[in-house]
């Protein structure tokens, strides 16, 4: 021990204090995404059967904050439509989208594979099985936390399973990963089907909602349960951002650079399950957000996780708010299932990514 080391060192290295990396695009991108998120949220909150102009939405928020600025909603029941229906819905969309975007980015880093995503590898389906199980059995030991906790447990178990099944020799082949996901999704789908079979009418409805994915049941209590999961997950991943970068070198080289790979992996799988549960517990399965968003961010900002993680969270929030807006306004007096909409857009994007990955790898071995 030398006399100079006064700073407490945390076990593994990489604390994200690297100031000189060429990430000058970072702050610009994050600021842009934040502005985009706020804008999209204002617009989305105003649209619907009771239309409120974005300026009035802003005015309503400012008045709540005690600032006497801007116009208040002119429409009858505008204020209550905003605060009881729209805001919780937009807020939950943002939380869910951020969780999915971040979870996708982390998974891709841990698997060293740009095609990993909670929906594709089956973590979302596993979480849905957990949630459905809690509903059908009517267990409420943890009060409002019961369903999210069950979703977390289901997601965690599935994530571990896929991880164990899809890896060999410290790497994950794309084919193995995707096929493992197919199998896991099939089993989870069957489990959900079975639960619907034994459930009563209300249970069937509640479970059907998971399979389609929807924000229709958003309320403030859902937001207050999902948001802490997102916050914890996001902070935990950001703390490991630099180590996730090193994983790109492969597990051996990451270990040679001082990363305790086993612990990092365990932490990140727990975190992914937490983020997946935050997303799935209140909205059901929304696929592909975690796949497409990190990919787009990488094209703009490069693969460094210190930027990729927060940018994917913001990007995911924007995408889900917009997708939900489309789902509830495209058809008058009808609501399209959000999960269906995201799959219509995300499926082709996944195919495109798959082809690109194959071209670069020179075909599947």
């Amino acid at each position: 021990m030398t006399a100079t080391d006064t700073r407490p060192a945390t076990g593994d290295t990489g604390d994200g204090r690297d100031r000189r990396r060429p990430v000058r695009r970072g702050p610009v991108l994050l600021a842009g995404l934040t502005a985009g998120l706020l804008l999209v949220a204002l617009i989305a909150a105003g649209r619907g059967q009771v239309a409120v102009a974005p300026a009035e939405v802003l005015g309503s928020v400012l008045h709540r904050l005690g600032l006497d600025l801007g116009p208040r909603p002119a429409a009858p029941h505008g204020e209550s439509a905003l605060w009881l229906v729209r805001f919780p819905r937009v807020a939950l969309a943002a939380v869910v989208g951020a969780a999915l975007g971040c979870a996708g980015a982390v998974m891709q880093g841990v698997f060293g594979n740009p095609l990993a995503e909670p929906g594709i590898i089956g973590v979302s389906a596993g979480a849905a099985v957990g949630a459905a199980l809690a509903i059908v059995t009517g267990v409420t030991v943890l009060g409002g936390w019961t369903v999210p906790a069950a979703a977390f447990a289901g997601g965690l178990a599935t994530a571990w399973l896929v991880y164990l099944l899809a890896r060999s020799g410290g790497r994950t082949e794309v084919v193995t990963l995707v096929l493992t996901g197919v199998a896991v999704n099939a089993v989870a789908g069957a489990a959900i089907g079975l639960l619907m079979f034994v459930a009563d009418e209300s249970g069937v409805q509640a479970i059907a909602f998971w399979n389609l994915g929807s924000l229709a049941q958003a309320n403030w209590s859902a937001v207050s349960l999902a948001a802490p999961c997102l916050a914890v997950g996001l902070l935990a991943t950001l703390a490991d951002a630099r180590r996730l970068d090193l994983l790109a070198l492969g597990e051996r080289s990451a270990r040679h650079l001082g990363v305790d790979v086993e612990r990092l992996r365990t932490r990140m799988i727990v975190v992914t399950a937490l983020l997946g549960a935050a997303a799935v517990a209140f909205t059901g399965i929304i696929s592909f957000v975690g796949l497409v968003v990190p990919h787009l961010v990488r094209m703009v900002a490069g693969p460094g996780h210190r930027l990729l993680l927060p940018a994917s969270a913001l990007g995911g929030a924007i995408v889900v708010i917009v997708a939900d807006l489309a789902a509830r306004t495209l058809v008058d007096y009808q609501e399209l299932p959000l999960g269906v909409l995201s799959a219509i857009v995300g499926g082709p994007a996944f195919l495109w990514l798959l082809r690109r990955t194959r071209d670069r790898a020179g075909g599947w071995a």
Binding site: T13, P114, G250, R267
Partner: protein
């Protein structure tokens, strides 16, 4: 992997919380940095290394030679702590591998693996900078920029600094990977075939770098297939065959025609260079007279 001890238990273990790492102290030239004793490694139930002894000393360039499959990469993996030992010990700076944490080892030895794939298209400079991570949060961090620039210059990859690593050619990637390993600034360097993908100029350049690091007091191990390169640069050679040390010693003692012919199962000549007297190792080939093109009747 599995043989590494878990020193901390309890919930904080997962968070990776631990006491401050032991930073390496200055070593004197000639002192043993890594001691391998009686090592046996099994893969798929088959011994691929057995009874291997190896001392890696400060100030020495140590060449590891042997035919394909002899166990050279396996030996480096065992020294790096990547593979469990079926028997024997590996000590770094006088302590068994298991007594060091991952960070403490990363401050002492850097490893260039035989293949260097990258899952995501990081820029070359970002890859090289990854080599500085073990020193994050320490006084050494102040030199990060200078070290990264200097190693990139020495490995001749400055031109590619901003390009995505996967867009480089094989040899360029190999040099960029070496730059990352050098940037780690450890006293022990384990390089698995650093010259394999390189052209003649860059082979010499890389061996020169390894030589200079050894002269500056580092302990350097280089796996090589070019025996003349080993003869020209190494202080010491260990020749592996079928998972065992077949011969060890200074180049003159190991690079002999009968020994090499036997180990490589090929008729090999060792002739001194007319000027430098350095050994030239050449397989005995048929003369050009017998290689006349078939078209010439």
């Amino acid at each position: 992997m599995t043989e590494r001890v878990r020193r901390r238990r309890g919930p904080l273990r997962l968070l990776g919380r631990r006491s401050a790492p032991r930073v390496p102290t200055a070593t004197t030239s000639g002192s043993t940095r890594v001691q391998v004793t009686g090592v046996r490694v099994e893969r798929a139930g088959r011994p691929v290394l057995d009874q291997v002894d190896l001392a890696i000393r400060a100030g020495e360039l140590h060449a590891l030679l042997g035919p394909n499959g002899a166990g050279k990469s396996t030996l480096l993996a065992a020294v790096s702590g990547d593979l469990p030992l079926a028997a024997g010990t590996v000590e770094v700076d006088g302590r068994p591998l298991a007594e060091w944490s991952a960070v403490e080892l990363a401050m002492r030895r850097a490893v260039l693996t035989q293949s260097s794939a990258l899952s995501f298209p990081f820029a070359v400079v970002e890859v090289v900078r990854m080599g500085r991570v073990p020193w994050a949060g320490r006084p050494e961090e102040a030199h990060d920029d200078a070290v990264v620039a200097e190693t990139m210059r020495r490995c001749d990859v400055i031109r590619f600094a901003a390009r995505p690593f996967p867009s480089l050619s094989g040899g360029e990637q190999a040099r960029a990977a070496l730059a990352r390993v050098l940037a780690q600034q450890t006293g022990v360097l384990l390089l698995d075939e650093p010259t394999a993908a390189l052209d003649l100029h860059h082979q010499e350049l890389v061996m020169r770098i390894a030589r200079d690091r050894a002269d500056a007091g580092d302990a350097v191990v280089v796996v090589l297939h070019d025996l003349a390169l080993a003869g020209a640069y190494a202080d010491r050679i260990t020749l592996l065959a079928d998972g065992r040390v077949r011969a060890a010693g200074p180049p003159d003692a190991v690079l002999t025609a009968p020994l090499l012919s036997e180990v490589y199962r090929h008729d090999i000549e060792v002739v001194p260079h007319p000027d430098t007297r350095l050994p030239l190792v050449v397989p005995r080939r048929r003369g050009p007279a017998r290689n006349v093109p078939l078209t010439e009747e």
